[in-house]
């Protein structure tokens, strides 16, 4: 599939753009947190480290996702490097999918290295590798995948600035999904309820992927939760890429 060729090139592009520098900041942050709380008990230190570490991983990953994702397609059009792609025997959807796969591969490497860094510092603190963090990290990654798909979607038809604004807006609304649901149950006005329902179902429920507290506090997760979360995230990505490809299919690349 030609998408893999484009994905490999996108991966090379993002790596050569030195986005991996964020890992260095992440490492400094994690070590910094562990030093700051060094006077506390080991149990508390580990908890804070995991809490802050996972939150930082999510923020760093999302920042990269938004700021590279919004330029993913737009930059190709702006710099007209897209001419080199669309004039080859490639379908437009293969370009969208290829660019997307390239970026999520970069983020995967990024998240993996950040995880290793967090595991290592935690190991130095607790004396064992805390594999329980893995589901939380996996869902952080799925959330990033959804956000990249949102940014890619917007970048097929609007400028990076507007794409960034829209993606951030949906990111915030996506995390407010449980509150939206609460409103749905408490409001009686039909029109308002319909609007809220529309937003609730259209915007991805990003809070669904946030199991950080549960993991850090060692709370049990619902049965098959991870499977449903993965299915939901990948399904949402699929739909967004499908719509993006549809928009991009007949787009004039002036």
């Amino acid at each position: 599939m030609k998408s893999f060729v484009i994905a490999a090139n996108t991966f090379r592009e993002t790596i050569r753009n030195r986005i991996m520098y964020n890992i260095l900041f992440f490492a400094i942050f994690v070590i910094g947190v562990s030093l700051l709380v060094s006077d506390w008990s080991i149990h508390q230190q580990a908890k804070i480290l995991k809490d802050f570490g996972l939150a930082a991983m999510s923020i760093f990953g999302l920042l990269i996702a938004i700021f590279i994702g919004i330029r993913l397609i737009y930059q190709e059009i702006e710099k007209r490097t897209i001419y080199m792609l669309v004039t080859k025997p490639i379908a437009r959807w293969e370009i969208i999918v290829g660019k997307y796969l390239g970026l999520i591969l970069t983020i995967a490497v990024n998240v993996l290295v950040m995880s290793l860094c967090l595991f290592a510092v935690d190991y130095l603190l607790e004396g064992f590798v805390n594999w329980e963090l893995t589901p939380a990290i996996l869902l952080i990654y799925v959330e990033i995948m959804v956000v990249i798909a949102l940014a890619t979607f917007f970048s097929t038809f609007t400028s990076p600035m507007i794409s960034a604004l829209l993606t951030i807006c949906l990111f915030v609304v996506g995390h407010l999904s449980p509150i939206l649901k609460l409103f749905l149950h408490t409001h009686t006005n039909t029109i308002f309820k319909l609007i809220l329902q529309g937003i609730y179902y259209a915007v991805p429920n990003l809070e669904y992927f946030n199991i950080r507290t549960a993991v850090v506090e060692s709370l049990p997760l619902p049965h098959h939760f991870l499977f449903y979360a993965l299915f939901y995230g990948i399904g949402y990505v699929g739909i967004l890429l499908l719509i993006s490809s549809f928009i991009f299919r007949r787009k004039d690349l002036k």
Binding site: K2, I6, R16, N17, Y83, D252, L253
Partner: protein, 304 residues
């Protein structure tokens, strides 16, 4: 090989949308093995036509077929090579990496690519810069690389948008030779150009576009042949004949015992030759002067 039927492209621009027609009702058919020069001033519609052929933009009306396949299908572009008017590349890649990437987009097997890359880099004179990042390339070097990538899939149809732009005289000669080599191999070439002398040297057929309308199309030989401006006749003749001849042909130029007479059309050429022969002259040369492509082009543009 390439068929364009009723191609029209209009754009809307501005806050209150205003429609501009870039190409209007264009019909073209390019045969296999033909070298076709698409000529026009800036903004005439050349690049818009090329973009429509390659499915970079969608026509407002009309359809295009490449090798009998609708150009919207990706299969139509499998045997097409494209050189854009400006080389737009990923500057973080080296020339070798870029050509490898391009070859993979055509689905070429990895085992065949390396050899192909080196032969192409050698062909365009970039073999010593294969490992240099493209951000360090000059405009001319990028143009050479653009040509190399257009040839990577051994295309049957080459679409070249202003191929000579940005090249030094040596580069232009090199490109011309490559195009002539491809012509010998019966490749079909569709190119747009501002440099009419190059078009005159390479093309079999020429189309002139102005303000989106095709204003003239024909075989280059036919276009030039029908446009003979004057004929220069050179004779060797005894100097004693000169005063009489000067009366008869006021535009006569003489030096030593040679005379040059310019005749306004082919029809009078034989009359003049006979006249000079009866006066004991010896014919040295007869040179017809055709209008060059540039003159025809300017005239067509003014007329339309």
């Amino acid at each position: 090989m390439l068929r364009i039927e009723n191609l029209t492209k209009t754009y809307s621009s501005g806050f209150i949308p205003r429609r501009t027609t870039a190409v209007c009702n264009l019909n073209l058919e390019i045969e296999k093995g033909e070298v076709f020069a698409f000529l026009g001033a800036n903004g005439a519609g050349k690049t818009t036509t090329i973009k429509a052929i390659l499915n970079i933009i969608s026509p407002t009306e009309g359809r295009i077929w490449i090798m009998g396949i609708d150009n919207r299908q990706k299969e139509a572009r499998r045997k097409v090579g494209f050189l854009p008017d400006q080389p737009y590349f990923y500057d973080y890649l080296t020339a070798k990496e870029f050509l490898f990437f391009t070859a993979r987009l055509y689905g070429m097997p990895k085992t065949e690519i390396s050899e192909k890359i080196y032969s192409l880099l050698e062909l365009v004179g970039l073999h010593e810069d294969a490992y240099l990042h493209l951000r360090k390339y000059s405009r001319g070097m990028l143009q050479r690389l653009a040509f190399a990538q257009a040839l990577i899939n051994d295309p049957e149809l080459l679409i070249l948008d202003e191929p000579m732009t940005g090249l030094d005289p040596l580069g232009r000669k090199q490109f011309r030779d490559i195009i002539l080599g491809l012509k010998e191999r019966k490749k079909t070439i569709f190119f747009s150009s501002h440099i009419l002398s190059d078009a005159e040297l390479i093309a079999d057929r020429v189309g002139i576009i102005n303000k989106g309308h095709l204003v003239n199309i024909g075989k280059l030989d036919d276009l030039l042949e029908t446009q003979i401006q004057e004929v220069e006749i050179t004779f060797q003749i005894n100097n004693s004949q000169l005063p009489e001849l000067k009366k008869q042909y006021p535009n006569l130029i003489s030096r030593d015992s040679k005379v040059l007479i310019k005749v306004p059309s082919e029809q009078h050429t034989m009359e003049v030759i006979r006249e000079l022969e009866t006066r004991g002259g010896h014919l040295i040369s007869v040179i017809p002067h055709k209008r060059n492509l540039e003159e025809i082009f300017v005239e067509e543009i003014k007329r339309s």
